[in-house]
Amino acid sequence: MNIQVSRRGLLKGAGAAAAGTSLAAMGFGEAEAAVAAHVRPMKLANTTETRNTCPYCSVACGVIIYAKGDLRKGERADIIHIEGDADHPTNLGTLCPKGAALKDFVHAPTRLQYPMVRRPGSDKFERISWDAALDRIARLMKDDRDANFLARNKDGTPVNRWTTTGMLAASATTNETAWATFKVAKALGIVGFDNQARV
């Protein structure tokens, strides 16, 4: 509990009381009924800090995520604020209008929460379980690969190309995710494999 919160609470209480009594006394309150000067309580008190980097442009500014709850303790962590990390050599704590509003990106109303499927010809998305979605995707991919995989070209050279399914990799995923993605895509023989380097 923030000290200021309690102090502020007290003052409010006191103010209300003063107004009450004086009103009862002679029907008038007093200016003292007004809440004494106070500033807003520091909203980051007792939050968990996490070092992160901005996911937007390639300056990769350091940011600090402030959350109620601590993932490291296995708790649920709700992000209440994000601001620049003054220790970071590149941005020295500063952020651009996008980075400064990262909290609202994390909490965007259009953040996706559940796997969805849109059936052929349908005009809507429907909820689907992860298992159902992944099984279906794997099946579709395997059937397409088996049907269209080119093991050897006409000269009999092994070429191992799967050109009928392509993949675009994300520009904001970590190198580690990228490496895992790379391994899967190249092992499957997906040659229509690209990223955002050009756009």
Partner: protein
Amino acid sequence: MTNAWTDIKNTDLVVVMGGNAAEAHPCGFKWVTEAKAHRGARLIVVDPRYTRTASVADFYAPIRQGTDIAFLLGLIRWCMENDKVQWEYTKAFTNASYIVKDGFGYQDGLFTGYDEEKRDYDRSSWDYVIGEDGYAVTDPTLQHPRCVWNLLKQHVNFYTPEMVERICGTPKEKFLKVAQMIGECSSPTRTMTSMYALGWTQHSHGAQNIRAMAMLQLILGNIGVRGGGMNALRGHSNIQGLTDLGLMSHLLTGYLNMPTEQEADFETYMKSRQFKPLRPGQTSYWQNYRKFMVSFQKAMWGDAATAENDWAYDYLSKLDVPAYDVLRMFELMNAGRVNGYICQGFNPVLAFPNRGKITAGLSKLKFLVTMDPLETETARFWENHGEFNDVDTRAIQTEVFQLPTTCFAEEEGSLTNSGRWLQWHWAGGSPPGEAQHDTWIMAQIFLRMRELYRKEGGAFPDPILNLSWEYHDPNEPEPEELAKEINGRALRDLTDPSDPAKVLVPAGKQVVNFSQLRDDGSTMCGCWIYSGCFNEAGNNMARRDNHDPDETGAYLGWTFAWPLNRRTLYNRASADLQGRPWDPSRKLLEWDGTKWTGYDVPDIAPNAKPGEVGPFIMNQEGVSRLFSRGMMRDGPFPAHMEPFESPVPNVLNPKMRGNPVARIFESDVAQFGTSEEFPYAATSYRLTEHFHYWTKHNRVNASLQPEFFVEISEELAAEKGITLGGWVRVWSKRGSVKAKAVVTKRIRPLRCDGKVVHVIGIPLHWGFVGAAKKGFGPNSLSPFVGEANIETPGYKAFLVNIEPSTPPAGVVA
């Protein structure tokens, strides 16, 4: 970037051309303002629009989009003419003195060997004269008429200030002012930095834009020094990383290439990758290619990759075309030759040119999988949004899966920034709903497919069944496990070649860095250039020592930079032939008589004597290239080329359209517009309030820039009767959009080749999902043509028409 963001503070002159750093990279631009405030540095902006960067510039010069090469070659000519050349540097560190084959020549805007049928060059004549000793012939006096320097002088002679004005529309006196400011940086004690971005890359001749500036920087002696360099400001947080890791059609990790059909077996593949030095005693680092390649194959397929099976070379796909880049894939999609597509954090419906063609392509798919933290137009391409996405939903038979992923705040790992820093970050929040990490999703897809192949067999299952997947939890590899794989480790004890008894790295231990990699299968390494990021010393990407001795801006203790934690590439070039810094006040490295010492990790063997070993060790020459031999498809020198859609013809050759060797698909030729039909020169760009199509989902950014608009000059507005904030329709041969009009003094008509050229600016942040007002993107209008060398779509110069209009249906005026 050759240098780091933090190094920009060391510069004397910043040239922002082909980019808009203040707008797109505000916090990186901080270092420009630092240089201005503390070094008295000057800032020049050359751009079709008076941008946010221009608003704090010392000098602004307008230019017609797509004509940067003419401007830059004009600068090179001016420097040569006026002896604004860092001679010692140019002679010692570039190939200026190399003699070029007699066959090579240039006329009517074309180099020798052009084949109009193939739209390609026979590049055999674009090369050095090789002597009997097998080394390139040079003339250090630069007297030889065929030496690179003299050929360059001849080549740029055409680009006089008058010609620059004629082509670029830049008033002569403004061009000369820029030339003078830049010329001053030929002094060894003055440096200039070039900050560019997609304003240079997104042209059919993008690579040559960049080469032209690189050449200028070389003759000014600004590469490898503090406050200098060629600084490509990458657009996305980890696009540098994804490229380094080879998530592209034609690449493997660390800029190793995918084999082609011609390279049927491993030895053939390696034969064209010998990288023998072209000058005596030079280091040609790519000679280690085999070590990196074998270690990569071991990382992919572990024990299944053996000397016997050529390290599982057969498992790799072999390309029959230069690349299956996105433009080719969507071409194939439209031809009905693609059935499935996976979009991981990617929004092609707004990201790729000629949106009509993209939507048509997706509509032909059997299935589409999107993985994203946010709604995307791509995931909902089948949904009708009136004028904003007018599709026939019922007719679209594509099965679409929308998979929710975590975002940066909920995951751990490293991102590689523009300055090649691999920075680790930690998860700070719990994911919403059922959102999952991409690693989990990729693992699930892979494990399920592997299982199906185990059970059912199928087309060439070996690479799938044998893919090394040794993770603590195969269902979700941990970031640290993957990072260790990328760094590489010893598979057997690595012993000292000179003393077999001495074990350098015991089996199973992480290698220190790529210098320990072997080509005998005893090491594995996912991405050689990243090796050193996570060795036995721990996770170097997570280091947070932000001390900066003598405030050079190097920050060697902060995270990890590839290669080998080096912060400035080619840094050996910061010192002269004796190894003394060109500018003692800006020392980076110094030869102490026995080794290189200084503030950065030397970009050369620490004991390589100055004067003997050249600084550009990744080149066979050991020096940098003003003449790039046959390495680029469109010429060894940059040359002025107009965009495919240009308001004026190419002054060098009126018949020539765009880049003569850029790939164009038959179906797209018909969709190029002419200046008669579409008189106005359009360009597209970002705004600082938004990031691509992400922040329109964010109410804060949406409120800062709520609605799609186009920018036009007051002159054009008056001519067309367009009012401030009124609705306009902008259309090209490929599509039409409606937007609000921002009428501004920041865009002024240009006069090119005697013709008035009006510029129309089209920002790219709006779509039909999210918090911001529904809108369009420039990709509804831009042409489906790629860069000649790397197929980057041309977004920066195309033709449109404009008229006052009414709001889109359903939008209140």
